[in-house]
Structures are given as C-alpha cells and as structure tokens.
Subunit: 146 residues, 2 copies
Amino acid sequence: MLLEDQLCFAIYAASRAVTAAYRPLLDELGLTYPQYLVMLLLWKHGSLTVKEVATALHLDYGTVTPLLKRLQGAGLIARRRRTDDERGVEAVLTDEGRDLQARALGVPVGMAEAFGLEADERDALRDRLHALVESMDAYAGAGRSS
Amino acid sequence: MLLEDQLCFAIYAASRAVTAAYRPLLDELGLTYPQYLVMLLLWKHGSLTVKEVATALHLDYGTVTPLLKRLQGAGLIARRRRTDDERGVEAVLTDEGRDLQARALGVPVGMAEAFGLEADERDALRDRLHALVESMDAYAGAGRSS
DNA sequence: CCACAGTAACTTGTGCACAAGTTAATTGAG
DNA sequence: CTCAATTAACTTGTGCACAAGTTACTGTGG
C-alpha cells in the first residue's frame, strides 16, 4: 500500500512533470499543453470535427468544446457547422494558426532534451505505455458489458 | 511531429486511463483519485502537514489545501494548527478515516488486474517513470538557475 | 410520411492543477 | 533586540477533465 511503490502514482507524477516541462516552451506560443496537442492534430490534418479531436485525444466533448472555443478566441482556428451533416462542427486552421507551426518546430526538440533518454529508450517506453492504455481500455470495456 | 509518436502524449493518455480505471473502485469509497493518494499517505503516517502532503505528491499548496478541506468535509480527517510552529497545519486521520483503510484493501489488487502486467514488468515501468520524473526535475532546476 | 432510436455537440456542476498575490509566523543578520 | 527575508498556508483566477443532462440533426422501420 506504499505510495512510492505504485505504478499509478509514477504515471500520475510523470504526466504532471512532463506538462510542467512543456509549459515554458508553450508559454512562448501562447498555448497550453492540451491546446498544443490539438494544434499538432490540425497541423497534420488541416481540419477536424469535434468528435475526431475528442477521439484522437481520448477526451470528452465537455473538455474539447471549450478548449476549441479558446483556440478560436486566440484566432488560431475557426469553428463552423458542417454542410453535409449539420450535427457536426469542424475546427479549421486560420492563417495565423497555420503560421504558428513554424514557431513550434523547436518544441519537440527541446522536450527530447528534457527527457534525457536515447531515442530507442523513448520509443520503448512509449510503446509500453500505449500497450498499457489499450489493456486498460479493454478492461474497462469488459467491465461495462458484464 | 505526429501525435501518436510522442512520448509526452503516451504518458498523458496513460495517466488519464489509469485514473479512469480507478474511478469505479474509488467511487465506492467516496474518494477521488488524488484524495485516495492523500489517504494512502495518512494511513501510513497517521498525520502530516500540508507541506509534507504537497511534497510527497509533487503538488502545489493551492491544490492540496482545498483537497484537504474536502476530506475534512467528508469526515475522514481533521485539520489543526501545529502548536510548536503555528505556521504549520496538520492533517490527522479521524476514526472514520482510519476505518476506511479496511475497505480500501481491495483497490490495489483490482488495479493490478486492470494493468494486465506481471509484477516485474510493472516494477520496471514504474522505475523507468520515476527516473524520468527525476530527470525532468533536474532539467527544470537547471533551467531556473541559468 | 412519421415516430423514434441514435448521434454530435453543447451546457452545467464538481474537482483537480497551477500561477500569482496575500497574510501570519519564524528566522537570522547586524 | 529589531526588522528584513524566509517559510507555511491560504486565496483568486484560469484552464483542463469528466459526469449528467439538454438540444438539434440524421437515418430507419413501419
């Protein structure tokens, strides 16, 4: 029952340490860490529905909706109803949002340095965590169905 | 720059998946995940100052103070000024708080099952994450001093 | 065509998490 | 001893994160 022995606490502490390490880098871009994740998605895809963002980040609509509104308020994205299915709302990069990508190129480099790990170690840890998330999702799914 | 390739996102997603897996177990105890971590500390030590709790969990006073007030509101702890140093406030288990430990014994067992990992794998992952947190703390410390 | 189940998004309320600023008690240099 | 710096705790404000409930649109069976 010791706190320090539990994997859950190690993950919880690591998550907060990582976002804290990102903060000074992201402050210069005027982004929070979840906002940065959304921008990463949009720099790749150009535009995404609220549902697609929520699915990719494993987040709730109730988290994503206000987050996108703040990005809109910052002028980085526009939000508009889809025309083919008017239930959907699409987030689209503005010119300003697209331009921000150039200034964000240094962020992953700076973070790789902070991690203090070799690339292969980093990949191994990442893959193990991905497997953990899938295992937990499967467990949660099984729990719901019983 | 791909989201799925980044270690940071794997940790962020894993952290939320873990606390989500704890939620149904902790709901039965009437605790949130951070509250459970505080109770783990108190079941071990009996009483701790706000500073000691904040240090152990790597949290801010601004997070811990209201958290302890909610535990006090739930009747699990009492909060009182220290007599030897009146700046300090101590959190102490109530009888009710102490009794809760018996009902919480099943929580780590249930979680070990959800993780779907062998004990040695779990320990290896935990140690690697602990090392990561220390590395990041050291990096942040170095950044502040420059 | 029409009730209706299902889906996408939003809203409200609670609880972290952290920055920045405030207050009160303690410590220590001169 | 005195007062300036330090420390412990609290407060305020912003932004996630998620549960639960609401609204608007879609697609399908009858």
